[in-house]
Symmetry: C2
């Protein structure tokens, strides 16, 4: 009696699991009709079952900028696309079925970039191995809230402490790593693979163990979308006070909190700052306004654009500030940009400025455009230069 | 010359932003054709532009279990559905367009439940206010890796430390909070809103400040999907060693790490354990095998199922263990289940067992089924009982 009751129950549970398949609470995501993406060597095949559709397109960052590719319909109503051989990387893509743009319904792995979700996959190889979670010691990622008197708010940041931090009394150097416009304190960890890149470089002995601080560079926001009292509000690409000096002027609040709450080494030789796009612009001006603070400065596709300074003299007297910065004796001023980046000319102009001031910098020019693929490459090249 | 160059550039940037609109790297997510979901009072309207579609359905946890509702096509090719008045809560849903199940393309907010993504929205009101990020002091969430000799692995856990933790030397009580089958160390934070529930209850003076430890209950896994060296592999609902005593037997590894790395108060009066579904089953046996360890035990829709014990005597001699547990003098043994939960009968049987042993417990019966809506309710009721 008891046995049959249990058997019946187990059957019931099995059936239930069969139907829920993929979800805790039985919202009905049935067995997926196709497997997608499928990776074979350096090719990806993307599939979607959509028998009634008239057109299915894929847009992904292995394609030329802004281009889509068409999927082909099979007799079974499954649309399919196979890429050419593409280099090892983490790739993002979306599908458009009869005008409806969506993530790949068969791929549970998505990453948010600003206000849109993207499906992701890896093409294996050296580059992807650097971004993947490996069997190496892992650092800890945490999301503390810190007081910012300068922005009159409690704000959220992300902090990576390297493997071994929790079990030592050692002090560590610190890299401040800033996101771009529309981004937030999670961007370098999700799209940027910062924790995995650092874990892997440190485990391979290629980078020094370091603390990485990823603040939120949107002065008008306290935290990433979904983590502020705005909760599930629409996400703005361009917020107020995004590049007007206010964030740069309040940067000392971040540094003060970090130095009080983490075991940092508090001198110029053990501090670095880098950022992508808007974060590169922020890094430029934070370093220029704080000579003697950072030995390493990284500008990744920096958005060196004319902006109105509402915070005092953050953006003024740049040449003079850069000369003072040079006198403070930094070790590496690193600039990276893609050949097809829409900011290429501005970065070129900025290099001319540095040249005219006889300020030395390291310059790395990659292929392609304003994209995460490049920023992961830049971080992978920049981090090993630090604190050596 | 310079001005016109800058003007042209700004125009170019504006155009670029217009087209990228929602993404850092210009993958081409254009302005969305509709706004969805739209919340008005206690009703949600869900919309999708799909002019070529023949049928659009929505499945969401405000509907009866397993049921879908049809969207209606408008003249503009926009399909629309408006719910009845539904209670305040965090809701999950998916759309199915001509057989293709997807998240709502217009809603950037998604949460993964096991192996599927779901779009989410709030219906405002008391319940949702408890789950939302509010203007209150926030605790810190972190993801340390800990050594588990019992499982022969470095494993990842999530830890919530309450607001003020980083700025005091105070010691705190600790709640171990366990996820269900198919879940992982992120589930209570994403779907379960554990950090927000605790932040809000603590800020309101309704719960004591406490540390909440959310380990990964899948003995065969080191971490959540995407955070293990498996990286972007398919996600299994039922893993090996999921409910075979191995996780329960190795629980002391978690406790040991937490007590060594966080300022916990290390006595029975300041320890609680609770879990949902499989995590309720784990909590039952971890508490039963460790009398004198926890003053508070919470079984949320516990999956009290017959399972084979491969770790020794974890599942045996239960009555005897429960009587010993009772003698150890716990303060609250709390059981919650939904009226329509498929585990209702098993929980009822377990209550009979406790009754027959004259073991007192608190019982809370909610409406509805095996779902996150209930587990958030249970945590909101359970946390205020702790450490008082």
């Amino acid at each position: 009696m008891k046995t049959s009751r249990f058997s019946a129950l187990l059957l019931c549970v099995c059936i239930c699991l069969q139907f829920t398949a993929k979800a805790q609470q039985n919202l009905g995501n049935q067995t997926l009709p196709v497997v997608s993406p499928v990776i074979k060597g350096h090719q990806v095949t993307i599939r979607i079952k959509a028998p009634g559709a008239k057109e299915v397109l894929v847009k992904g960052d292995w394609l030329a900028q802004g281009k889509s590719a068409a999927l082909t319909k099979g007799a079974d109503g499954v649309w399919q696309y196979t890429s050419d051989n593409i280099p090892s990387d983490l790739y993002m893509y979306q599908l458009t079925v009869d005008g409806v743009t969506m993530v790949d319904p068969a791929n549970v792995y998505v990453l948010r970039d600003v206000g849109a979700q993207f499906s992701v996959f890896y093409i294996d190889g050296d580059r992807a191995e650097g971004y993947k979670v490996q069997n190496v010691p892992h650092g800890t990622v945490e999301y503390p809230w810190y007081p910012s008197p300068g922005l009159n708010a409690e704000r959220r940041m992300a902090v990576y402490t390297p493997a071994g931090y929790a079990d030592s009394r050692q002090r560590y150097p610190v890299l401040y790593l800033l996101h771009g416009m529309g981004g937030d304190e999670t961007a370098w960890l999700t799209l940027g693979r910062a924790a995995e890149i650092l874990d892997n470089l440190i485990a391979a002995g290629k980078a020094k163990p370091m603390i990485v601080v990823m603040p939120n560079g949107n002065a008008a926001k306290k935290a990433a979308p979904g983590f502020t009292p705005d909760n599930l509000e629409p996400i703005d690409f361009a917020l107020p006070h995004t590049m007007d000096g206010v964030f740069e002027a309040s940067f000392s609040d971040i540094q003060k909190y970090v130095q009080a709450h983490y075991r940092t080494i508090n001198d110029q030789a053990h501090r670095a700052i880098a950022g992508l796009s808007m974060g590169g612009f922020h890094s430029l001006y934070i370093s220029a306004n704080n000579p003697g603070t950072f030995d390493y400065i990284g500008l990744f596709s920096p958005a060196i654009l004319p902006r109105t300074d509402t915070a005092g003299d953050i953006y003024g007297h740049l040449n003079q500030k850069l000369l003072t910065l040079q006198k403070s004796g930094f070790k590496n001023y690193w600039i990276g940009i893609g050949k097809d980046d829409f900011l290429y000319k501005e970065v070129s102009d900025y290099r001319n400025r540095l040249d005219s001031l006889h300020i030395k910098y390291t310059y790395f020019e990659s292929d392609r455009w304003h994209m995460w693929s490049n920023w992961r490459i830049y971080l992978t090249r920049f981090a090993p230069l630090l604190f050596q």
